[in-house]
């Protein structure tokens, strides 16, 4: 341990290169939706010769966007608007949201909702 701490770690300094690329365009949004389970297989998003006809792709995309908007309490327009892109850029866990929220959780306990107090 002391050896580890005494060694030089400048190679590990956070460099500006290590910023996540903002999700700001259609392609990045498609990758996001696919990566986190909001859309079907990669093929639906990535341009591929045998991919489904243009109309289907557009429908699939807007349907996936709509689903994502709904759980994030955004207007389910199916459009990649600024609010939707902002939601995609929020810090998140990398596990896909594949299983949409499980059935409604157990009914809340009787009595006031407890606020977390410092342990």
């Amino acid at each position: 341990e002391t050896l580890f701490h005494s060694r030089d770690h400048s190679d590990r300094e956070t460099s500006p290169l290590h910023q996540a690329k903002p999700i700001a365009d259609l392609h990045a949004a498609q990758r996001f939706l696919s990566r986190y389970g909001w859309s079907g297989s990669q093929g639906t998003w990535a341009p591929s010769p045998e991919g489904p006809p243009e109309a289907t792709k557009a429908t699939t995309l807007s349907e996936a966007v709509r689903r994502f908007q709904r759980v994030n309490a955004l207007p389910a327009s199916g459009e990649l608007d600024a609010a939707t892109l902002a939601a995609m850029n929020r810090p998140r866990c990398g596990v896909p949201d594949t299983r949409l929220p499980p059935p409604a959780g157990a009914p809340p306990p009787p009595g006031p909702v407890p606020r977390a107090t410092r342990r």
Binding site: A20, R99, P102, A116
Partner: protein
Amino acid sequence: RRFLRMLLLRPGWQQEEPPDGGVARAFSKKTLTWRLVGEALSSQLSVEEQRHIFRLAFRMWSEVTPLDFREDLTAPGPTVDIKLGFGRGRHLGCPRVFDGSGQEFAHAWRLGDIHFDDDEHFTPPTSDLGISLLKVAVHEIGHVLGLPHTYRTGSIMQPNYIPQEPAFELDWSDRKAIQRLYGSCEGSFDTAFDWIRKERNQYGEVMVRFSTYFFRKSWYWLYENRNNRTRYGDPIQILIGWHGIPTQNIDAFVHIWTWRRDERYFFKGNQYWRYDSDKDQAYTDDEQGKSYPKLISEGFPGIPSPLDTAFYDRRQQLLYFFQGSLVFAFDVNRNQVLSSYPMKITEAFPAITPHNHPFRNIDSAYYSYTHNSAFFFKDNAYWRVVTDKDIQQNPGLPTNGLFPKKSISEQWFDICDVHISTLNM
């Protein structure tokens, strides 16, 4: 889909097909081991701080599930159930590359590996800045245990990081979600009691308040009846919360409370201790200068020891002492056992439903001010004693009868052990 298939097909990984196609538990054993991988430390926090935060994260899940978590620094890597590590970009042989500071901050594999993106600004629980490593760790451990994302407000399993005050806890629904996978916490108690204390409110009026305690081995929980759960951060060691009484395996507690008397006694073996509520410590001597602990046979003539348990009936001003299949009723005013005792517990407290009775060796007898009833605990079950009010509503009920048994965990929630190595965190 390929990624998910990889997640689920871990050799030896426990995948019980969930009945409703929902979530499934990931482990079938009670004690799971974890390790912060030595070659994957964060460069932002000291190693000890990283390990302490992870120890607390595991303990928080252990406080609400029958699972225990133990840090294992020596076993061969592949045998450790959950391995945690930090990395940047392409890391630790993981096919899911991290994206740098912002957006994805961590991910978990059902294989039991948890990776944190060290490009994120992870901070300790005391900090309001950055991303709380504790919150992220609790979230990712939730995944490894089998919980998916949910968008329910207040849940620790929301996919996005919710910056809020650093103090956070697992809420009711998260607790029930994990208990649907691993069950509720069961187990017997050495003693359970309501601790009455008088306080003055802002108008100077005397208020009587009570706190409920459950004791087991060398630790205890305070139970918050209004919140239907134990106090956040419990269990803690008896040694820490109580001063001057035995630090484990207490047999019984009674609170003799009349117009003239307000005495609290702990019993263990053949001795008993009196506790001073105001000073929050055991008495060392009585009014005559005789020292505590004292022999039970001296203070309570005719009462045997060691006891199974005891409780005080304020209505009759009787102490009931239980040993084996017998019960002794002790008159606190005459300081003697009633002439008709000892009696078989089955006679003094008859079963309402035939054969539905603890019969002997009761773990704990608990009078609850929340329920205005006495309960007998044995193993995972409780029997409620018939009250005057029950008899008013149903005159056919026997005095001091016992209603059929129920499971303790259906009445008192989340009284869960933690691994001994995290007990005094």
